[in-house]
Amino acid sequence: MSKPDANNPFAITANEIRGRKVERFIRFITLGMTWALILPVLFILGFLLIKAWPALSVGFIFDNPEKNMTAGGIWGPLIGTFMLIIVSLLIAAPIGILAGVYLNEFARDNWFTRFINLAVVNLAGVPSIVHGLFGLGAFVYFFQMQRSLLAASCTVAVMTLPVIITSTKEALASVPQPFRVACWNMGASKWQTIRTIVLPNSISGILTGVILQVARAAGETAPILFTGAMISSRIADSGWASMVPYGLEDRFMALSYHLYIISTQWQNVPESFKFGTAIVMIGLVIAVNSISIGFRIYLRSRKKW
């Protein structure tokens, strides 16, 4: 360590110079690490897009797979994925939102609440294939739903429940406590307070969580492998039957399963079809996430307090 300049007490010491060098170096390294994560993804996305380009057309989206999936498009799997999302959402959203309300508004700070929170964390950590086993054992066999859209949706709903619970809890917690106290002091009951103050002011945050659930449900494969997904099904090319091709008790095609099948199990599928399917999935997920990000920005812009 060198001595500071005797004339100028504010002169930069050698130690400080070294410190700045180290800092610049660390900054550079960690930035490099960050880019090492992001660049491959951008590269991958670009690569997929180029490879998928020949297949991408309006027909690819709106036509059904034909000739052993070597021609046509992905309409059937796409609509199957949409139906899976909607049905699982109808099951998971009410339960998850109310559970979030319970945890943030009703639960007292005791061991039982800790236990519930632990259960939520664990539910989120259960491997997706184990969810699939559970769906098979519980919904397909025990509740006798057979392999069906309903059984698969129930399975996916259980799997995405913790996402909804956690984000609802956070959205509710962002509503300041004095608002609640003010309502209680005016004789509003707990539920009235939640209904009139807490929910209206956190609904956008809750929806963000629900949207994230949608993204997750759209991409999952393992839970629907044994609970309802099928390789191929006959779908009408037009009309109402092509819009809602599956009933709750039918097996269905889904994008994720479709991609798995055509990229590992099926022969002679044109390469661009596989890439096209992957790109559509990614596009779907990015679109959903963008909505959620947009929601967050909108939310910040019109904060009421």
Binding site: G19, V22, I26, T30, L31, G32, M33, T34, L37, I38, V41, I44, F47, K51, P94, L98, A99, V101, Y102, L103, I116, L118, A119, V121, N122, L123, G125, P127, S128, I129, V130, H131, L133, F134, L136, G137, F142, V158, L161, P162, S189, W191, Q192, R195, T196, L199, P200, A218, G219, E220, T221, A222, F226, S263, K274, A278, M281, I282, V285, N289
Partner: protein, 331 residues
């Protein structure tokens, strides 16, 4: 419920008597609504227990034995040898002569892929977390976080596809191996998949360290790196540990990507270029063909129980570790 919300927010004149009776109806319904909220709140516990019970129930016959009538009055009992199950690397469930149900190779496969992915993901994730929380400006931080969230959003089957069509040729070209579906491939893919959770949990942990710690560190003449290394990391160590644990949990539980990228052969690996098979991939690949009721079917559920137990222990530990952080920060 949404209907109640909508109706209550109106401010215009309406049918008064209806409104009044509606108010009374709401008051009377409140206990019902609150009851439903309580039930939903407890549902998480119910589901965790239900998952364990149903998966365990389906695996039970493998342990207690399955009777099949081979001739009149003669019953052959098939039963899983638990010692073989846990210690043998031989997994030949569909052999007609002598099937074997040892999951050791599958466990080793799972652990080797997970370990390698963590080896890649932890330094990168930690570095990115340090950059995002300590160096990046507000705007850069937002953008980087969105990009990293994008990583998390890509579905696992797409990651598997990427492993097959991008990583596979890359590895064969660079290494000269015949096939590029192996630990290396799955490890890299899995690392990219588990990075987002590692980044977000460790960034939370780093940001939870009060600024006074940073200032104190810098005031003592430490440079930025010394401050990060000697002050920030120790203060955030529980959160960072939790991040690593959750990354491991993600790796062990991942199914589709490892199913597609590992090469899918039962194998005790000796190098990064060996193909392996994981616990999750085995269930995904074989349950469709296993006949419900036979030993193979029930054994696959038993693997599910093993996975559940792994996940449970990891999450419990991570939770306890994070709780430790909170207790510390209260002091």
């Amino acid at each position: 419920m949404l209907l109640l919300l909508l109706l209550d927010r109106n401010t215009t004149k309406g049918n008064l008597s209806f409104r009044r009776s509606f108010q009374q109806l709401q008051d009377r319904l409140e206990p019902v609504v609150v009851g439903v909220i309580y039930i939903c709140g407890w549902s998480a516990i119910l589901f965790v227990i239900a998952i364990f019970v149903f998966v365990f129930k389906e695996s039970l016959p493998a342990i207690t034995g399955i009777g099949t009538e081979i001739a009149a009055g003669e019953i052959e009992v098939e039963q899983l040898d638990l010692v073989e199950f846990t210690t043998s690397p031989r997994w030949i469930p569909e052999s007609s002569k002598k099937p074997a149900f040892g999951i050791l190779a599958l466990i080793v496969g799972t652990l080797s892929v997970t370990f390698f992915s963590i080896l890649l993901a932890v330094p990168l994730g930690l570095g990115a977390a340090v950059y995002v929380s300590e160096f990046a400006g507000n705007k850069t931080r937002e953008i980087l976080k969105i990009l990293i969230e994008l990583l998390a959003a890509i579905p696992s089957v797409v990651w598997g596809f990427i492993g097959i069509v991008i990583m596979n040729p890359l590895i064969t070209n660079l290494s000269g191996e015949a096939v590029g579906l192996n630990i290396l491939n799955a490890g890299i893919v899995l690392a990219l998949m588990s990075v987002p959770i590692i980044v977000s949990v460790s960034e939370d942990a780093l940001r939870a360290v009060p600024d006074s710690f940073r200032e104190a560190g810098l005031a003592m003449g430490a440079n930025r790196w010394e401050m990060i290394y000697k002050v920030l990391f120790p203060a955030a160590k529980n959160g960072l540990l939790a991040a690593v644990l959750l990354g491991i949990g993600r790796g062990i539980g991942e199914t589709m990507a490892v199913l597609m990228c590992t090469g899918h052969s039962v194998n005790m690996p000796t190098s990064l270029f060996d193909p392996v098979r994981t616990l999750t991939a085995t269930i995904a690949a074989e349950l469709g063909e296993a006949v419900r009721g036979d030993l193979h079917y029930h054994t696959l559920f038993l693997i599910g129980v093993v996975l559940f137990a792994f996940a449970f222990i990891i999450n419990l530990t991570a939770d306890l570790v994070v709780k430790g952080v909170r207790d510390q920060s209260n002091v």
